[in-house]
């Protein structure tokens, strides 16, 4: 690893100042679990690393217009253990419990995770299923963007130079909505998912589908929403076979990588299987 100057900042403003000062030669660091690996491999060689861990304003979990707000520097472990998050949506807790290992979860943060934009990560699919938005801060102010649209490509998001991700907002969950997160790990429990699905479903009094979200991880260059599947189910009176049929559509929505966790062909089939299984479990009264 190349030597670098480390700047421990106490606030987002300080961090933004340093970004402005050093430009491309600076890199923000939250938990550092991914950044350090890439620096160790020599793939990123910043001269200045801006450490955010002491920027307390960027940490914490609170209420936000009926939903919750999780500030960017909150660790996965804090999310996992938060009674606030559990009250809001137990599935979110379950999804965060599945991330890597407890050592990583104690170090890695929700903001760092999203900005890293690795399509195999656990938080994005469930956050997409819950209609999360992110707040991006810069010297000129703040902008809020939906998480759906936040990811651009491998390791690439809409966060521009001179900006930082400040928090994640989750809207109020309408009563009766159930959600689930499934992570398919055919090799080992601490692997990246071969495929993962976050899903949410709400049925009306007549059994028709009032609200449905299906999002997938490890299925494309970015985490994705399966809009065709959602569209096929929206407003329908759902049955198991109908879900299976809709799940077939996900094959056309994914664009997976060939890797050691499975060929693209296999992952496409697994996207179908796990989309179907996630939605069927919600229809059958599973999920939380």
């Amino acid at each position: 690893m190349r030597t670098f100057d480390y700047h421990a900042v106490g606030s987002a403003a300080e961090a933004l100042d340093l970004l402005a000062q050093y430009g491309e030669d600076a890199h923000l660091m939250a938990g550092g679990t991914s950044l350090m690996l890439m620096m160790e491999q020599g793939l990123i060689q910043p001269g200045h690393v801006v450490g955010l861990r002491s920027a307390n304003e960027l940490r914490g979990i609170g209420a936000s217009s009926g939903g919750i707000e999780i500030r960017a520097l909150t660790t996965h472990r804090e999310v996992e253990r938060s009674s606030h998050v559990r009250d809001y949506c137990p599935t979110l807790v379950e999804a965060f419990e599945r991330i890597a290992t407890i050592r990583i979860r104690n170090q890695a943060t929700i903001g760092g995770n999203l900005v890293h934009a690795d399509p195999a990560q656990d938080p994005p699919p469930i956050l997409l299923a819950l209609d999360a938005e992110v707040v991006i801060q810069s010297k000129i102010g703040e902008r809020t963007v939906p998480l759906d649209g936040f990811f651009r490509d491998y390791f690439e998001t809409v966060v521009e130079e001179g900006e930082l991700l400040a928090s994640v907002r989750l809207p109020a969950i309408v009563a009766g909505t159930k959600s689930t997160y499934v992570k398919f790990l055919p090799r080992t429990e601490d692997d990246y998912a071969t495929l993962s699905v976050g899903a949410a479903l709400r049925l009306g009094a007549d059994g028709s589908c009032e609200h449905v979200r299906v999002a997938l991880g490890s299925a494309a260059p970015t985490p994705i929403r399966a809009r065709k599947v959602e569209a096929a189910l929206q407003g329908q009176r759902l049955t198991g076979p109908m879900i299976d049929e809709a799940a077939e559509l996900v094959r056309d929505e994914v664009d997976p990588l060939d890797d050691v966790r499975g060929s693209a062909k296999y992952k496409r089939e697994m996207a179908r299987v796990w989309t179907g299984r996630a939605l069927r479990s919600l229809l059958d009264g599973g999920g939380k």
Binding site: H27, Q41, G42, Q45, D153, Y154, E156, L257
Partner: protein, 155 residues
């Protein structure tokens, strides 16, 4: 790793072939190419920038035409390039072949077969993503070629 791509170009086969033999013009169609200088003998030196998120690599190296068959309309180019900063290298052979789809209107199909190897430390960083990225880049290259040739004809 082996990649295959196809592009359909609305131009006669002869014109497409002529364009393909102009290496600097062809190279400009590759996304990220910064410079191409002739070294003589069908050999060129250039730089291509590749980025995957925050990872920015600059491969410097040589491209040469190693085979050309004007009758069969096939040519292959070989590229050897290295990124000195991260410590990685790419070796690739790109074989292009043209076939006439129709003469009126003139439509030519370009097939590109790429056989590339990623070596050194860059290779430690997920080969699958590199493969996907390379696939994207060659695909984009094919589209740019079609556009450039079409634009040349339009002039």
């Amino acid at each position: 790793m082996k990649l295959e791509h196809k592009a359909t170009i609305a131009a006669p086969i002869g014109q497409v072939w002529a364009f393909l033999m102009d290496v600097p013009a062809v190279a400009k169609c590759a996304p990220g190419v910064e410079s191409v200088e002739p070294l003589g003998d069908d050999k060129y030196r250039g730089t291509i920038k590749v980025s995957v998120g925050p990872i920015r690599l600059a491969f410097q190296g040589d491209v040469s035409i190693v085979e050309r068959d004007e009758v069969a309309h096939t040519a292959s180019m070989r590229a050897d390039a290295a990124d000195k900063r991260a410590g990685g290298a790419v070796k690739a052979v790109l074989t292009m072949s043209l076939s006439e789809v129709s003469t009126d209107p003139p439509v030519t199909e370009l097939r590109m077969e790429t056989d590339a190897q990623i070596m050194g430390r860059v290779g430690e960083f997920g080969q699958p993503i590199i493969r996907k990225k390379a696939d994207q880049m060659v695909g984009e290259f094919g589209q740019n070629l079609s556009k450039a040739i079409a634009a040349g004809i339009a002039k």
